[in-house]
Subunit: 204 residues, 3 copies
């Protein structure tokens, strides 16, 4: 039986893969290319984290991520035309994935003995770096650098994790509170169009 | 005396470097930039594989890859105008390189004790990821995501390796059969314009 | 008390971060995005080097790089409009950073027992790869491939390090001479518009 966290991990991977595959389809990639972009979106952040932490990336020890991406591709091929009407559903899943991946990244880094400021960065990589790789592959300026609160939500969640931990909370309490913080930061920032100030551009 | 595999490795590196240098020249890179792009095309896939497998990349233990890229650059500078007429020759070399790099990647991963599904992915990285890095550097959407059977040929070759191994074949038999499979998949898919279906694009 | 090298490291990091943040502002990134691009520009080269050398990246053991990037962002936000008139000052800082990062990269690789030709490549990565990552993120063809002597200055400095070492110089003499070589190569090549030949482009 999969645990509750594994089910959330499955949902997050699926949602991230869908997001990569949909953008790939907008660029007219073939099935294989779309699969690769979906997979990179789903596991890219965790892989960069694991390379930096010098541990074996999770997807190399469990084929579930490959299978998940395959299901996501099948889903887009089969139900692509209905997906447009499910924008809100996927936004919700994507936000759940972001929250979960962040918490997993922070927790893994702390378990390996890294200080909190490293763990917060690693949590943000886990949540947001997959989307950056996706945008590099499809040759777009990464969206997270220009729009809405996205990676910033991971950073906020990481700080909340830190505060909870400093207040002496149990590990699972820290994780739940941090996850909810990421999720709400993301949802509310989109709902109320909260964004960071644009850096005033000098002409190059 | 170099072994047969080393000679094939030399040819593959040379062909991959040429492919990077030619695309760099089309973008009007200088000699140094073209060298770097050629080098990355040749060793990029193997480097990503070795980072993931947590071993020292091959090019850091043997300067042959640097020398090979240097020869490729010299070749393009000296004989550039004749290269256009040698398209078929380089396509052949490139396909040999793809086949060899895939087999090397699969073999190295299995030798390190990884399961077959990881080995197939690593073989595909070895063969195809250099070209993806090349296309990111020259700011194009990676070709392998949109055109022909390329990385797919690596995956097919990896599966054939697996089947041969499961049937109890010797290691060198698996390698030869898998290599020929990659080579033929690539050649035949180009000759008969076989490609994967494009994912139907929703407008973003 | 910080040492002399630490102060130079601080200056180099600051200058590299400014360079990333300025380019990000020209693309209208938000504050967070600009911070990330600045940080990647400053620590990207050293991180790639450390991944290849299989050691923990320096910025994961000391928060000074994060703080430095924060100061750089504050600087651009507060004094952005004056920065244009400080182009020469930043060019100077950037060249100091390039020189220092190269020397640090060569020294670290030698200390880990790698041969000189690997150390020269690692020095060049340390100096120049951050700028390549920056250009990939802002979706431009990396400048160093097309303009002026930049990464080439790192390679020249690395060779000079090697020569000094072969002549039996003390380690700190090698470092000073190599650093000055990188610095002067960069400054003089820009002053006298020295560049490498462009590779004659075939039309693709």
């Amino acid at each position: 039986m999969p645990t509750f966290v594994q089910i959330l991990d499955f949902i997050g991977t699926f949602a991230f893969a869908i997001s990569g595959i949909r953008l790939a389809s907008a660029k007219r990639f073939d099935w294989f290319g779309a699969y690769v972009v979906g997979f990179v979106t789903a596991i890219g952040g965790g892989t960069i984290r694991d390379l930096l932490l010098d541990v074996t990336p999770g997807w190399m020890t469990d084929p579930i991520y490959l299978i998940c991406t395959g299901l996501a591709l099948f889903w887009v091929i089969a139900f692509g035309k209905y997906l447009i009407h499910m924008h809100n559903t996927f936004f919700l899943f994507d936000s759940i994935g972001l929250a979960l991946f962040t918490v997993v990244g922070v927790g893994k880094s702390l378990a390996l003995g890294y200080p909190f400021w490293v763990a917060i960065i690693m949590g943000s990589f886990t949540g947001a770096a997959g989307g950056v790789l996706r945008d590099v592959f499809i040759n777009e300026i990464p969206l997270i650098f220009r729009k809405e609160i996205y990676a910033m939500a991971c950073v906020i969640g990481g700080f909340v994790y830190w505060v909870c931990h400093a207040l002496g909370c149990e590990s699972y309490i820290c994780q739940i509170v941090a996850g909810i913080t990421v999720f709400l930061s993301r949802i509310l920032s989109v709902k109320y169009s909260i964004c960071l100030p644009i850096l005033k551009g000098e002409s190059k």
